[in-house]
Amino acid sequence: MLDNLSSSLKDALKKLAGKTVVDRAAVDDLVKDLQRALISSDVNVKLVMELSKAIRTRSLEEEPPKGMNVREHVLRIVYQELVRLVWASTEVKLEPQTILMAGLQGSGKTTTTAKLARYFQKKGMKVGVICADTFRPGAFDQISTLCTKINVPCFGNPQEKDALKITREGLAALKEQELIIVDTQGRHALEAELIKEIIDLNVLTKATHRWLVIDAALGQQASEQAKRFHEAIGIDGVIITKMDGTAKGGGAMSAVAETKSGIAFIGSGETIEDLERFDPDGFISRLLGM
């Protein structure tokens, strides 16, 4: 199915190949195929409509640069419009900071917390982790096992039910560390009390970054969920997990558009080392099924 799609997109592009004048019908065909490719990669449907409108208008109105044929011209616009959405690459600085992890249940926050701890540790920083998940059974075992493997101090208390109290204690206990990552329990937009909890955690920690962790397979809900997290704490970076599966990450891209942030990292496996910086070209090619 997806193979067909990408080849139909290639066909549409081929139709434009030999042309020197932009042909309206051919552009319309291409836009239609593009819409299908993006929708099947889980880009938000409304966003797809906006994007494709912009691409159509620009393709028809802009003069192709000298020496560029129509096919290259349209393809360039497609790339530009998509890159514009994901480009605002989240800066990752090697300086003292606190990172608050946020996201839906099961998205990969805890695993990614350990991966990030490892990433910054390898860059030579002194890293500490706080387990503010007081809800999920085994949450502290999970993160502390991962932290032990990489020799990163992990503060938590499975008996304590108050995430704020743990975090306050954790900040004090880990004050020697330069970089603190706060792992939180999973929550979603409709859970008002949990949204309030993460607002409070954000205030308490004075977090430098609030990163939203999104499963590459998340569908049309991504925009709505991201919107609520953004309203609550101001998301300044997205991490897309599970990109080693077959999902395309279009939901996560929609979340980036919604929060006007950038993609900080990509999760590409279950081990602590499976974390990559974001590569827009590779991401967009995959999104388009090319």
Binding site: M1, L218, Q221, K242, G245, T246, E270
Partner: protein, 280 residues
């Protein structure tokens, strides 16, 4: 008489509704074109609008895709004990929580249950299921982290036989369908514990990948029934349609929250209503 042109507007609106509800593109295409084929050339009743006709036909098509659901109680009643149920799916969809919820549900229905801690891989996985089981007062069979999951689940089945337990619930580690070694580990688990039912767990908020992974899990290790979790995340549950359309297996439960009682036997009519709420 209804013509193709009459249907066009109504159908493209419904197509968008389905897509916005996370019904995957191939499933949407197939459903919309079958509705169209069904309606073209049909006679319209006097006073009946095309919109009404189309919505009606679409509902029927969706119900047809979803089928009747899966009655676990009836299944257990008809089968030799212990009934062995293996839970599979990709990472983080809610397998472990679902095992706990179904364990709790079965106990309330009067069955005895044992849980096998078949995720020996992920950090904290054994503790997670053990805490759930302890809270519910359900016996859990576990080995060390890193142990062979087949061996754990074999022991769980032996325990159930020896203690005349009605149902074995086998948790497994999350895995992606494109990892051959992990999928063959699951095949081995299947050979060793010989489950009566393989239950595939995915989440209601999954987008188009729901199709790909359901197809691959069904193809490699099989799936007899499906549980969809996280239906409380305001999702309209299109993944139910995507999966049912792709593998044609019945849905058993919906997960609707993180508490043990947040589980509902699957009702096709409710899902279809939710799905079309936005657009129809």
């Amino acid at each position: 008489i209804v013509s193709e042109k009459d249907l066009d507007d109504a159908l493209s609106e419904l197509e968008l509704t389905l897509l916005e509800s996370d019904v995957a593109l191939p499933a949407t295409d197939a459903i919309i074109s079958s509705v169209e084929k069904n309606l073209v050339g049909r006679h319209r009743k006097i006073g009946e609008s095309v919109d009404h006709l189309v919505v009606h036909a679409l509902k029927a098509a969706l119900l047809d895709v979803l089928g009747q659901g899966f009655d676990l109680k009836a299944y257990i009643a008809k089968h030799e004990r212990p009934v062995k149920i293996l839970f599979t799916g990709v990472n983080g969809t809610g397998k472990t929580t679902t095992v706990a919820k179904i364990g709790s549900w079965l106990r309330k229905e009067g069955f005895t249950v044992v849980i096998g801690a078949g995720d020996t891989y992920r950090a904290g996985a054994i503790e997670q299921i053990a805490v759930h089981a302890e809270r519910l007062g359900i016996r859990v069979i576990q080995h060390q982290e890193g142990a062979d999951p087949s061996a754990v689940l074999f022991d769980t089945v032996e325990y159930a036989k020896a203690h005349k337990i009605d149902v074995v619930l086998a948790d497994t580690a999350g895995r992606f369908h494109n990892k051959a070694n992990l999928m063959s580990q699951l095949e081995k688990i299947k050979r060793v514990m010989k489950p009566d039912l393989v239950v595939y767990v995915d989440e209601a908020v999954a987008g188009n990948d729901a199709v790909t992974r359901a197809f691959e899990f069904d193809r490699t290790v099989g799936a007899d029934a499906v549980v969809l979790t996280k239906a409380d995340m305001d999702s309209r549950g299109g993944a139910a349609i995507s999966i049912a359309h792709t593998i044609g297996k019945p849905l058993m439960f919906l997960g609707v929250g993180q508490a043990y009682d947040d589980i509902m036997p699957f009702e096709p009519a409710t899902v279809v209503e939710e799905l079309l709420e936005g657009g129809a």
